[in-house]
Every structure is written in structure tokens, then in C-alpha cells.
């Protein structure tokens, strides 16, 4: 199994954007610094070099760019048009990726919502999962009143990644939290929650927007940004309050844990599930739902980890567990909260596993990927950075009958800079020995790369 180090022992390094975005940004920035002035070109090159040193993962892109630059240095004019072309390409690609990323139209008449909540379609309200990419995939986040179930990989703790971000995001938004786990001391888990990336770490992203504003050269391409920018920046602003990027290596500050109402329950203690259900019931009674669209002041989060773990007293009472889930689901429906429940499906009999899956409103599964699977490594790009796979089986369909069909249901879980959790579409690697055009064709083969990143 690929090692999943969730502690905070990694060496520090700067954060990085999504690969495709970073390469576009590099191009853009490059373009800006290189503007008209040959003297500045050197510094631009330095910049690219520096960035390539920093972004070890995307160094391939930058190096390619570097060589591009070196070859063009002799004829600045050509070089400029070359870069402009590249730039245009990047802009077009950006348009494409933007266009395909799913964003829901938000109706104008919305009830007043507390920060951290977002209106969705059909009178639903979203709450962030704590992973920006997952929110995007699910069309906005987790729906209030829904039960999210995550099928664990029985041999790897990837579900903890989802749980940690979910819980942290709630604490950041001041949302009360109920956490239940089969461990003896569930409170200890709170110490491992990640902290949002500080503003200093976020700088690269911010600077990126600043520079876009001061775009001087290639003004004729501005129109491409005209359609992009509002969406782009709006999304970003939104992201800052709705969904944070979490730095998995930095523990959450104590103040969040102290000022919050955090309930921790050990599943080992409760032989009877009715106790846990009562606990959930009293917790959820803080967030009653009234359907007449009044304001929602706060929302709750319930995180239940490894629900059917064998060390819980009730783990052999399959019907009891099932009726617990059913009762939980029905109380969820009448409250403004989201419950995330993870379970190892291998511990359930197949028919019960299906029953559990039917119970879920949103159903996800996580899977580790083998460390040295050469076949898979050849098949997928960016295999080295992947820690696992996330599968989206079902998306909550509350108040609607139309299913949401995703372009792809399998996503790779990556730890960017070993800090940030990133979900990406799987991309097929180009076949060895084929020309550069295979990048284009690989997309159509995998049928999932529309939202995927751009390879140069």
C-alpha cells in the first residue's frame, strides 16, 4: 500500500495550484514579465527556473518551457509571438476547463444563510465537504439533511482524509460537531485535524489574480478573460469563505476546538445503538428545519467513523445497525445537518452492504492504490503523486428525481505538496514512443479528461 502519512512530519514546501492551472499561470506570468522588454527576459527566465525548482512535481512542464525559452532567445520577435500563441492556447484551455466544471445556477430568492452554507437547486442548501474539489464534483457540496456514506478501504485510512477535512471545515465555520468513533479516546482524533492554509501560503494564488488585473500586453486576449474572470474570481472569493484549502500538515489551532461545541462519543462504550441514536437526536435538535424557507443560522455536522467496526459491541447486530442508519436518516431529513458515516464494507455481508448503500443519499468509496503497481503506473499520468482513488457512486437526490450524471466517477486522490488534498480525473498516460499528439488523443480514450488537467 502506498504510504499515507497523515502526521505533520513532512518537510515544509510551498503550496501549489492544480497542475494544469499552475502551468497556465506560469505561462501567463511569464508573458507578463517578458512584456516588450528584452532586458526583463532574463528575470523571467529566472522566475521560471525558480518556480521549477519549487514545484518539483511540475518541473517537467517548467523545464520544457525553459528550453522553449532558450531556443527562442535568439529571435525575440518570434519568441514573443510564440509565447503569445502559447498564451492564447492556455487561455482557450482555461475557457474549456472552466466551462466544463460544474457550477449550479443559484436562484435569486434565497433565504439568508449563515457563512459556510450555500443555496443549491430545489430548495436545498449545501455545506462544504472541506475539500474544494469534492464540492465541485458533487455540484456544490453535501446537501443539508442528507446522509453521506463513505465505503472505507479496509487496509488504508483514506476515509480519515475525508472525515478530517469535513470536521475541520465545520469547526472553521463555527458549526457544532458530533464525532463518534470506535476508538477508546475519540477526543484525541481532534488533535489531528488539519488547519486551513494560511494566507501566506495562499499567496501564489492571490498574486496570480493581481497580475491578471494588471494585464498590459496581449490586450487583445482580454476578451478571453472577460468571460472567464467574473466566474473565476467569484468562485475564488466564494471559496475563501465557503470552503477552505486545508494544510494537512498543520494541526488545527486550539481556539477552534475550544470555542466550539464538539461532542465526542466512543462507539466502544455503547453496547446499545439507541444510546447513540438518542445522542444524535439531542444533538440534531439544535438545528430543527422549518420548510418555510426562513433563515438558517447554523448547521450541524455528524461524523461517524468505522460504524460497523468489530470492536463495537453491536457489530454483529446487522438489523440493529441498519435500523440505526434508517432512524439517523429520518432525523437528518428534518434537521439542518449533514452526517458522514464511514464503514468498511468488507465486514458486512454482501446483501447488507447493498442495503447500507441504498440507505445512503450520497455514496462515496475510497481505495488505496498499490505502491509499486507498474502496470497502473504506466497507464495513468501522475501516478507517483496519487495516494488513492475516490469513487462517486451516488449523489444525493433530495427534492428531485433527475440523477446527476458525472463525466467521470473515479477520481485520484492526491496530496499536493504533501499538504493539500486534491481530487483529479484520471488521465491516461501517453503511450511510449508516440508523438506529442497522443496527449490530445489520450483524453478521448479515457472519456473522463474533459475536466482533467492540461498536459504540455
Amino acid at each position: 500500500m502506498k504510504k499515507l502519512e497523515l502526521g505533520f512530519q513532512w518537510a515544509s514546501s510551498k503550496p501549489k495550484l492544480l497542475l494544469h492551472r499552475s502551468s497556465i499561470t506560469t505561462l501567463r506570468r511569464y508573458q507578463l514579465t517578458a512584456h516588450g522588454n528584452c532586458g526583463k527576459r532574463k528575470s523571467a527566465e529566472n522566475w521560471v527556473r525558480r518556480s521549477s525548482r519549487r514545484n518539483t512535481n511540475s518541473s517537467a512542464n517548467s523545464t520544457r518551457l525553459n528550453s522553449e525559452l532558450r531556443s527562442k532567445q535568439t529571435c525575440p520577435k518570434d519568441y514573443q509571438t510564440g509565447v503569445s500563441l502559447l498564451f492564447l492556447l492556455a487561455a482557450m484551455a482555461a475557457t474549456k476547463t472552466r466551462g466544463s466544471s460544474f457550477s449550479r445556477a443559484v436562484s435569486a430568492a434565497t433565504p439568508s444563510l449563515a457563512p459556510g452554507l450555500k443555496c443549491g437547486p430545489n430548495g436545498t442548501v449545501f455545506l462544504s465537504s472541506g475539500i474544494p474539489d469534492l464540492d465541485k464534483i458533487l455540484g456544490g457540496g453535501f446537501t443539508l439533511g442528507s446522509l453521506v456514506m463513505v465505503m472505507e478501504d479496509s487496509e488504508a485510512p483514506h476515509h480519515m482524509l475525508l472525515l478530517r477535512n469535513f470536521m475541520s471545515q465545520g469547526l472553521i465555520h463555527n458549526q457544532p460537531l458530533l464525532y463518534a468513533s470506535p476508538s477508546k479516546d475519540p477526543k484525541g482524533f481532534l488533535g489531528t485535524l488539519p488547519s486551513p492554509a494560511s494566507s501566506k501560503d495562499d499567496k501564489p494564488r492571490d498574486r496570480d489574480t493581481d497580475q491578471e488585473k494588471g494585464l498590459r500586453i496581449a490586450w487583445q486576449y482580454k476578451k478571453y478573460f472577460g468571460e472567464n474572470n467574473p466566474n473565476f474570481t467569484g468562485h475564488r472569493d466564494d471559496k475563501h469563505e465557503y470552503c477552505n484549502d486545508f494544510d494537512l500538515r498543520k494541526p488545527l489551532e486550539r481556539q477552534f476546538l475550544i470555542r466550539q461545541h464538539v461532542d465526542c462519543v466512543s462507539l466502544q462504550d455503547s453496547m446499545n445503538l439507541s444510546v447513540l441514536l438518542d445522542h444524535c437526536g439531542t444533538f440534531l435538535s439544535q438545528f430543527p428545519r422549518n420548510d418555510n424557507n426562513s433563515s438558517i443560522t447554523t448547521a450541524g455536522r455528524i461524523a461517524i467513523q468505522s460504524f460497523c467496526a468489530p470492536d463495537c459491541g453491536y457489530s454483529n447486530m446487522e438489523w440493529h445497525m441498519l435500523s440505526f442508519i434508517r432512524s439517523l436518516k429520518s432525523v437528518m431529513r428534518s434537521s439542518n445537518a449533514v452526517a458522514v458515516l464511514t464503514f468498511p464494507p468488507s465486514l458486512l455481508s454482501p446483501s447488507f452492504c447493498k442495503r447500507w448503500q441504498h440507505m445512503a443519499d450520497t455514496l462515496l468509496s475510497v481505495k488505496a492504490i498499490p505502491d509499486e503497481d507498474r502496470e497502473l503506473a504506466q497507464l495513468l499520468t501522475g501516478y507517483q503523486d496519487m495516494v488513492g482513488l475516490l469513487n462517486v457512486h451516488k449523489i444525493a437526490r433530495i427534492n428531485t428525481q433527475a440523477p446527476m450524471i458525472l463525466e467521470a466517477t473515479t477520481f485520484s486522490i492526491k496530496l499536493q505538496k504533501r499538504r493539500y488534498l486534491v481530487l483529479e480525473c484520471l488521465n491516461q498516460a501517453p503511450i511510449d514512443g508516440s508523438s506529442g499528439a497522443s496527449y490530445g488523443t489520450s483524453g478521448s480514450c479515457s472519456a473522463s479528461s474533459k475536466t482533467g488537467r492540461l498536459d504540455f
Binding site: W319, L322, H358, A402, P403, I405
Partner: protein, 260 residues
């Protein structure tokens, strides 16, 4: 009217006939789906057809899966106001989301919850005026949760179903149930599923496409109509298979490959 009768599902169910009588009267419809493809949209379609302005059918909706607001919103988009129909006494909603039959080990009467539910249904039917008593549709969403509510004693659920079945012969009721096929696919003798399939006159299966997911085809329906043997209907196909695409305000049905 014409536009509605071109619907493949209605055709398969015999709902396209221009008769005054509700075509499903006295019949049992079993809908089966899977995790990948939800079949609940068929329930919504049937509720909409049953509550259409030109029919006089009364719907008894026994909801174990979703609250009223969920169905209300969906049906409103389909052009049917459940709240208004509720006032008109044409739509009866039984919110059984939290119904939990007592534990089996308590031994007092494990089925009391379901018996009470049956009593409620019966009472509602008896309470109806003579005219509408002839056109009652009972819809159960969904049977797998009824099993959970009965704490796994599927025999009691079967008993409950049999009781409801007697209503179909007594009052010419329609009984429509939803269940999940894949739950039972791993069990050796899926007695519960086989029993419900045996009871059913019409079996509708919603399955995902074998070729994987698609945005313009959401799955396929297989409709097995067992009771079409009487009289002039003999010419119809017994098994029909077609694709569907679920939209907010309608469902498109089409034969495989016939979509342009």
C-alpha cells in the same frame, strides 16, 4: 392526451387505452431497481398518472423512504399538486419514516406496527365515498425499508403484503411497490424478492446500462406484463425493453438506438 399516450412506459402498462377505467385496477405492480439506477421516478410517474384530472383514482402513499416535502416538490415539477390533492381527499400520505416495529425479543407483538399500518390503510379505504373506493392505488416506497422497520423479519412484511394484496381483489385496488433487486442478488434463496415477484402482475426493472454511465441515457427499463392474456390485448408484447432519461419535469422513454 395524445402526447401522453405515446409514452412507452404507459403503453407497456396498458395505460394508453382510452378507457374510463384505471387500467391498473386490481393489479399488482412491482418495481425493482439497484444502487446505480434508482427506480423511484416510476413511482412519481404513476402517482402523476393516477392523480391526472380526468381520472378519479385515490392514491394512498405509504412512504418509508422520503418525507412529504420531497415528493411534493418532485410532483409539482411534474405538474401535479400533491398538497391540493391531499385537501381533495385524493392523495393520502402515510409518513412512516420513523415507524419502528417493536423489537422481536420483546415478544409482545412484533408485527403490531405493520398490523396497525394495515388497519390504517383499510380504514382510509372504508372512509372513502363509494365511488372512489373502486379506484384506489396503494403505493409503498420502499419494501426494503419496511423490512428494516420490521427488524429483518421479512415474513411479517410478506404477511403485510399479502393482506394488502387481498385489497386488490376486494376493492380492485392497485398495489405498487418498490424494492431493490441488488440487495437480494447475493442471497441464495431470495424468498422475499421471489414472493413479491410472484405476487406481481407487472414487473418493472430499472437497470443501469451494461455499457456504463451516460448523460443522455440514464438506464433501461424491462417491463414484464404477465396479465395481458385476456381478450384483445393478446397481441401485445409481454416483455418490453427500452431506455429512459429522467428529467426534472418529465421522463423520456425510447427504444435502444432510436434516439437522434
Amino acid at each position: 392526451m395524445d402526447q401522453r399516450s405515446s409514452n412507452l412506459l404507459d403503453e407497456a402498462l396498458g395505460l394508453d387505452c382510452q378507457t374510463d377505467r384505471w387500467a391498473l385496477a386490481g393489479r399488482v405492480v412491482a418495481i425493482e431497481d439497484s444502487v446505480e439506477t434508482s427506480g423511484s421516478f416510476i413511482l412519481h410517474q404513476l402517482v402523476k398518472r393516477a392523480l391526472a384530472p380526468n381520472s378519479s383514482t385515490v392514491v394512498l402513499f405509504i412512504a418509508f423512504a422520503q418525507p412529504f416535502s420531497h415528493y411534493d416538490r418532485i410532483l409539482r415539477k411534474l405538474g401535479c399538486n400533491l398538497a391540493a390533492q391531499r385537501v381533495n381527499n385524493r392523495f393520502f400520505f402515510f409518513d412512516k419514516l420513523t415507524l419502528q416495529c417493536p423489537d422481536v425479543d420483546e415478544r409482545n407483538s412484533p408485527v403490531s406496527g405493520l398490523v396497525a399500518l394495515y388497519g390504517e390503510i383499510q380504514e382510509t379505504i372504508y372512509g372513502l365515498p363509494e365511488v372512489s373506493r373502486k379506484n384506489v392505488t396503494i403505493i409503498i416506497d420502499d419494501l426494503s425499508i419496511v423490512e428494516v422497520a420490521a427488524n429483518g423479519s421479512s415474513d411479517y412484511v410478506l404477511d403485510f403484503l399479502h393482506y394488502c394484496h387481498t385489497l386488490t381483489s376486494e376493492f380492485d385496488c392497485t398495489l405498487i411497490t418498490l424494492n431493490h433487486e441488488d440487495i437480494y442478488s447475493s442471497t441464495e434463496k431470495p424468498a422475499f424478492l421471489l414472493q413479491t415477484e410472484y405476487l406481481a402482475d407487472i414487473l418493472i426493472k430499472a437497470e443501469p446500462l451494461a455499457t456504463g454511465l451516460a448523460t443522455d441515457v440514464h438506464g433501461q427499463l424491462t417491463v414484464l406484463n404477465k396479465g395481458f392474456n385476456h381478450g384483445q390485448m393478446n397481441s401485445r408484447n409481454k416483455i418490453r425493453n427500452f431506455h429512459f432519461r429522467v428529467k426534472e419535469n418529465m421522463v423520456e422513454y425510447f427504444y435502444p438506438g432510436s434516439r437522434n
